[in-house]
Amino acid sequence: MMDTFAALAHGMAVAIQPMNLLYAMIGVFLGTAVGVLPGIGPALTVALLLPVTYKLDPGGSLIMFAGIYYGGMYGGSTTAILINTPGESASMATALEGNKMAKAGRGGPALATSAIGSFVAGTIATIGLAFLAPWLVDFAVRFGPEDYFALMCVAFVTVSATFGDSPIRGLTSLFIGLTLGLVGIDKLTGQARLAFGVPELLDGVEVTTLAVGLFAVGEALYVASRRHHTEEKLEPVRGSLWMTKEDWKRSWKPWLRGTMFGFPIGALPAGGAEIPTFLSYSTEKRLTKHPEEFGKGAIEGVAGPEAANNASAAGTLVPLLTLGLPTSATAAMMLAGFQQYGLNPGPLLFAERPDLVWGLIASLFIANCMLLVLNLPLVGLWVRLLAIPQPWLYAGILVFATMGTIAAKPSVVELSMLSGFGVLGFLMRRFDFPIAPVVVGLILGPIAESQLRRALAISLGDPMTLLQSPISATLLAIALIALLAPFVLKGLGRFKANED
């Protein structure tokens, strides 16, 4: 317990150095500015801004990242409230009530409750992260390679199959990612796999190229292809920005309840913030004293899901920092940020670079405070960003997206891969395949393979080692249940439907 306080205090000392404060400030500002653009969620915000941090030292860049992460989340909810275009499914609940509030001239209080709720949830969840992380690290140091492999199997299944619309389409996405993860030189034997004699492919598929291609280029192609269907309407922020006493009274309990949903679900490798936001939304709908307002702009319906969304974002940092396990597309991008400095999050990083890890955690607190101070006064600026005409907006997004690749690797092969992943992202959107499992598969696939091969080398090739470790056996059982559950439940549902 005292260790955590000491470590956190040390982290604070790192984070409040003037240069690091400046990095956090730039991160928060850029994150919000990019995240506010319609159709751009936090994962893409992080992916697009990754090149900006290339030349910084790891500490400064991770601190800027913390700001970008929270800023992107906040920007996304602003968009959801003002133009009803949730950049990601976790903002859908916010868009449901928030946009109705904005239409009724209560956009100010909607933005305010979402900002303050995000702050409350983010702060509580970051405290949770600070206390949970050392405990999990103590547990994780006992993990052998077979346990890590089993843990990754759990993550693969929960991210792709368990909670999506269709386990088959989710798993298809995951296996596309795993296939891409195989490309390049095999680290153990030095043999090239799936490189087809192209030298650029020997280094493997770059995570940022895949993510920017799938998210940015894919989204631009998709929006362009169905431009004739939708018309976005920007709601002006009318009336007071501030919340009334009544608004406060109706908001504080949803904030806390949303946090209670968001943090644990985010911290479990259960993938994404959709579940806690929708749980929070339905809970608030059930508990509210104003049920007639739901669907017409109830403030509880913004306060709860927004808190849940932010709390789960901090929650996903728990498995990411302690186990190196990304369970959302955004967390996968954060992992890519670590990897560009050759850093691998996990128990070792806590032991070897405590300044870095705790500096990052402390920066999360600071980024959260900055967001609260920055965003409400600057809301006019964000609204003006939202008013950029669509042609220039998407043209700008594509220029920015390709620029990252051009800056990192200005080769024809890399740019062609970016465009190819864009087409893949477009087709996946069109045929309703989830995108996050591809990114998670690309990042985790090679790690899972090397852990499995290490485990089998230690056991002299005996695959029973996976079942002899109690941790690994338990995790594999969980993975199997999580894989079969959606099929079984679907079967039960069909059985019931037949009986009716």
Partner: protein
């Protein structure tokens, strides 16, 4: 991706064989075949445990099973309804990306390449003021170039325009 599924006009009535779904299943099977073919060229040097060829084969088996799953879904017409699409803007953006790649490949530099992409994308989203957009694109990419080149000291590809700056 769950957006607007209910409100879309389905491209075809449900519960019919979905041709696109069958193409997807065939593509997955093809990728699985490529994986197995590629893995056959690898030498297993590991004394114990798995060699480099094991994982591709495992992934290929998974892909083959998923190809069957997708095929069954397509036969039953279980795919979510799709909205009609307009292919023209998609092609325009892809032309823009091709131009960008060609200009970078032939040493035309960052400014010209991104300007080409900006103008085609803007046109894909319905703008017809190509001259105006070209000016905006040039100014913007020059500013980005200067910011990245001078402030962040990242090297972007140079062409005739960049050498003038």
């Amino acid at each position: 991706m769950t957006r607007d599924r209910a409100s879309g006009d389905p491209a075809q009535p449900p519960r019919r064989v979905d041709r696109a779904g069958i193409v997807i299943a065939a593509l997955l099977a093809a990728v699985a075949a490529v994986l197995v073919f590629d893995a056959r060229g690898l030498q297993s040097t590991a004394m114990y445990g798995m060699g480099p060829e094991a994982m591709p084969v495992v992934v290929a088996i998974g892909l083959a099973l998923l190809a069957i799953g997708n095929f069954v879904d397509a036969l039953r017409g279980n795919l979510p309804a799709r909205e009609s699409t307009d292919p023209v803007p998609v092609v325009l953006i892809l032309v823009g990306l091709a131009l960008l790649i060609a200009i970078v490949g032939f040493g035309g530099g960052f400014i010209l390449a991104t300007s080409a992409l900006f103008v085609t994308t803007s046109a894909a989203f319905g703008r017809r003021a190509i001259l105006m957009d070209s000016i905006i694109a040039l100014v913007m990419s020059i500013l980005i170039y200067l910011a990245f080149d001078r402030l962040l000291t990242l090297s972007l590809p140079t062409g005739p325009l960049e050498r003038l700056l």
